[in-house]
């Protein structure tokens, strides 16, 4: 069930009521665990088995690692965890992709092989919970934390429904201590949690699905040949759509967890006000990129082996993160491209260009934000496009190269909506980039906050039309 459904509202209402009854904390945690499995099973019941398997493997591996000092045995158990989780991920997410690509690869070697055509269902959330589950074992292996005594707590950590399907990817050290004793949820906290959920649903249902998604879908349709203005509109609308969708989900996740007394990390912090790509990747899907930094980038050497190796490591990590998004070469190239751009940015920051006093002025900062956002919008054409050919066609149309299309011409309303939404997003990100949303909201009187929330609730209820899953569910 999706967050933006009445079924989920009824489900969460029931869970919340049960959670606020004065019953023992262990029973409450058990209820949350059952609720989380029901939540996941509502999509496709058999895949509960995968979630449970990942949990059992990592619980067992972490326990065995902590019990021995034998480095070989420790490595074996670590490998069991990593191989199981990555194995599940690779099979379900990349199995068909590998089979598709193996024929041409073997063909280059002179082997004529036709791989079978398979259709493998991608379990929702597998990219998230496998990473989360693995990180528990890795942290125990590295000595960052001791194995947790309660299997129920570990199971809840991995399956916790607010963040199960699309993050944030929570570290065990941040979540498990919260399971030790119940934390009272004050009325203020409950209100803020529900406000975050409302804000998240507004971003997802209104901004992403209602206002921007139809524009993006028209431009990126398989048979679409947009004109230049429409191509630009679609390219600019997509970052807005994916932000509304993903940040909306993350806000809902944090808000729901808060209502249940759990604190989850922020996953976005005004990414479109980033000063450069390095800053952007610290503000976008924060928990995923910190996961890659801590478990991949540092493991392959990080910045400890010289400048050249650092650059190579950056490119590798971003290419892998591109692949994480989906089984398609466009994602890999998107990640690779961003790796290259990041390396170029590092070089620029070390040059004289970076010393100009212009960058310290307001105009200079706005210019950097504009350049960063434009770079993102243009490279994200590759991310959104269905193929390299389509990405190439849209990019050429955007820059007036080659014959433009005519069969998709967005009207003035669509262009107006895109420009207004983007301006609001960019300006609000710029204003909030160094502060927290809660701090800003607290400055306003209760009646103003209530009016804004009432407006959002009304817009959410008036918005439903096309049903769209959260984009990151499909990763």
């Amino acid at each position: 069930m999706l967050f933006d459904s009445f079924t989920f509202a009824a489900f969460f209402g029931l869970v919340l009521c049960l959670h606020r009854i004065p019953i023992p904390w262990s029973v409450k945690k058990f209820n949350l665990l059952v609720a989380s499995y029901v939540f996941y099973g509502a999509w496709n019941p058999p895949f509960i088995g995968l979630l449970f398997l990942s949990t059992v493997i990592d619980w067992t591996a972490a326990g065995r690692i902590a019990k021995t000092h034998n480095s070989v045995v420790r490595r074996v158990w670590l490998s069991v965890s990593v191989c199981t989780n990555l194995g599940l991920l690779c099979f379900f997410k990349y199995g068909a992709f590998v089979l598709e690509n193996i024929s041409p690869l073997l063909g280059i070697a002179g082997v004529d092989y036709q791989s079978p055509s398979v259709s493998i269902i991608l379990p929702w959330g597998i990219s998230f919970y496998t990473f989360q589950s693995m990180s528990y074992t890795i942290d125990v292996y590295r000595g960052h934390m001791k194995p947790w005594k309660s299997f129920q707590d570990v199971a809840l950590y991995i399956a916790f429904f607010p963040q199960l399907l699309a993050g944030p990817i929570v570290r065990s050290g941040a979540f498990l201590p919260q399971c030790v004793r119940e934390r009272a949820v004050s009325t203020r906290k409950l209100a803020w949690g529900l406000s975050l959920v409302t804000f998240g649903l507004f971003l997802k249902v209104v901004v992403a699905d209602t206002l921007l998604a139809p524009i993006v879908d028209r431009v990126y349709d398989e048979s679409a040949r947009p004109d230049t203005l429409s191509a630009w509109c679609g390219a600019l609308a997509f970052p807005g759509q994916v932000y509304g969708d993903f940040c909306g989900y993350a806000a809902c996740a944090v808000g729901l967890a808060l209502c249940l007394g759990f604190s989850l990390p922020d996953n976005f912090h005004c990414p479109y006000a980033a000063y450069g790509l390095a800053d952007f990747w610290k503000r976008w899907h924060i928990t995923l990129y910190s996961w890659f930094r801590d478990y991949v980038y540092i493991s392959i050497g990080g910045n400890r082996k010289g400048s050249l190796r650092t650059c190579v490591n950056i490119v590798i990590v971003l290419a892998i993160s591109g692949l994480w998004h989906g089984a398609s070469w466009t994602y890999v190239v998107f990640g690779f491209l961003h790796g290259i751009l990041l390396v170029i940015e590092i070089a620029i920051k070390r040059s004289r260009l970076a010393m100009l006093s212009l960058w310290k002025t307001l105009f200079g900062r706005i210019l950097i934000v504009g350049i960063t956002f434009s770079t993102l919008a243009i490279t994200e054409v590759l991310f959104r496009a269905n193929s390299f050919a389509q990405a190439g066609q849209i990019l050429k149309t955007m820059f007036g190269i080659g014959p433009g299309g005519r069969n998709v011409r967005l009207d003035s309303f669509d262009i107006f909506v895109t420009s207004v939404v983007l301006q609001v997003v960019l300006v609000s990100h710029f204003i909030l980039r160094d502060t927290k949303l809660e701090t800003l909201v607290d400055r306003y009187p209760w009646w103003a906050r209530s009016l804004v929330l009432a407006g959002m609730i009304s817009a959410i209820l008036m918005a439903p039309g096309d049903d769209r899953a959260f984009i990151y569910f499909e990763f």
Binding site: M1, S5, N44, S458
Partner: protein, 325 residues
């Protein structure tokens, strides 16, 4: 809490204002909704009645009248406006799990296979056959129930439509004469339209349709062959314990004249039962059905649908197509 109450007040006020202006809740039909209902044609004891056809049976068959007399039957409306029922009939015949009663609104010109219209429901049956995720079913249920209850939930009053109208400075279209319910039945209230103009437009469109798609003198042999082609499908349903009845719903005036001029009843419809093996009911043959007039020449008004349905049920019971409990 304050925000929720405020939102409820804002929406409540808007809903009331719209109802005062004559707007009624209506759902947006879709392939997903059709697939949702298609999944529900099964009933273990064979007490399943499925309605096929196009807009005539959607507006002319009142589910309430049926449910009052056959409360223990499952009724499913699978008609699709402006299409031929053949693809869905084939689909039900191929479905081993289905063995209920099919009441199919049929016309002579829906039979010819070579007309593109004959395959017009294939997209729906294909969509139904694709895997449907739970979330699609859930969303269909929720949005459908909401649209059935609230004017504000309908397509013209969704946020983007409202914003678009504000942007262009235009008003909402006046209340529609046609409303669709969650069970996919429709109510046509012709008191909400300028009937003379509406009828003129409709007849004009039908004439254009006939000019474009229907031969002036249909090949009778070809038509007979196509009609016979339906027999195996109907036999399959009957062999499983089900039944199929083709019903010619009423049309009046110009529309009836057009149909008769191209497909005279005595040369075409009257042979349908013998060629297909289905029971046939033509409104002209049953006095209780023939007395109804179609305001737009082709569809019954909502005020007549209830009595028409009862008269049709009486005929079905008389012919032992349905067994009244």
């Amino acid at each position: 809490m304050v925000a929720a109450v405020l939102a409820a007040m804002i929406l409540g006020f808007a809903e009331t204002a719209l109802r005062i202006q004559g707007y009624q809740p209506t759902i947006s039909d879709s392939m997903d909704l059709w697939a949702y209902h298609r999944r529900r044609v099964y009933e273990d004891s064979g007490r399943s009645v499925v309605l096929l056809g196009a807009s005539r049976i959607q507006t002319g068959f009142a589910p309430l009248a049926f449910r009052e007399r056959f409360g223990n039957h499952r009724l499913t409306q699978l008609a699709i406006p402006g299409t031929s029922p053949l693809a869905t009939l084939h689909d039900l015949a191929d479905d081993e799990r289905f063995y209920g009663t099919v009441i199919c609104s049929m016309t002579a010109f829906a039979i010819p296979e070579k007309l593109e219209r004959a395959h017009s429901q294939k997209a729906y049956t294909a969509h139904y056959r694709e895997q449907v995720e739970y979330r699609e079913v859930e969303k269909e249920l929720e949005s459908g129930r909401l649209e059935e209850s609230l004017v504000l939930a309908g397509a013209p009053f969704r946020l983007k439509s409202v914003l678009r109208r504000i942007f262009s400075g235009s008003n909402a279209a006046p209340p529609d004469f046609l409303t669709t319910r969650f069970d996919r039945s429709q109510a046509a209230d012709y008191q909400k339209v300028n009937l003379a103009e509406h009828r003129r437009e409709r007849v004009g469109r039908i004439r254009q349709f006939y000019r474009t798609y229907v031969p002036t003198e249909p090949d009778v042999q070809e038509w007979i062959q196509d009609a016979q082609g339906l027999k195996p499908y109907i036999e399959r349903i009957k062999n499983r314990g089900g039944s199929v009845v083709f019903v010619r719903f009423p049309s009046s005036g110009e529309h009836w004249a057009l149909c008769e001029s191209h497909f005279p009843k005595t040369r075409f419809w009257d042979r349908l039962s013998e060629l297909t093996g289905a029971t046939t009911i033509h409104f002209k043959d049953v006095p209780q059905l023939a007395k109804f007039d179609c305001p737009d020449s082709s569809h019954l008004d909502v005020r007549d649908a209830y009595s028409f349905t009862n008269a049709l049920i009486d005929e079905c019971v008389r012919r032992k197509i349905l067994n009244e409990p």
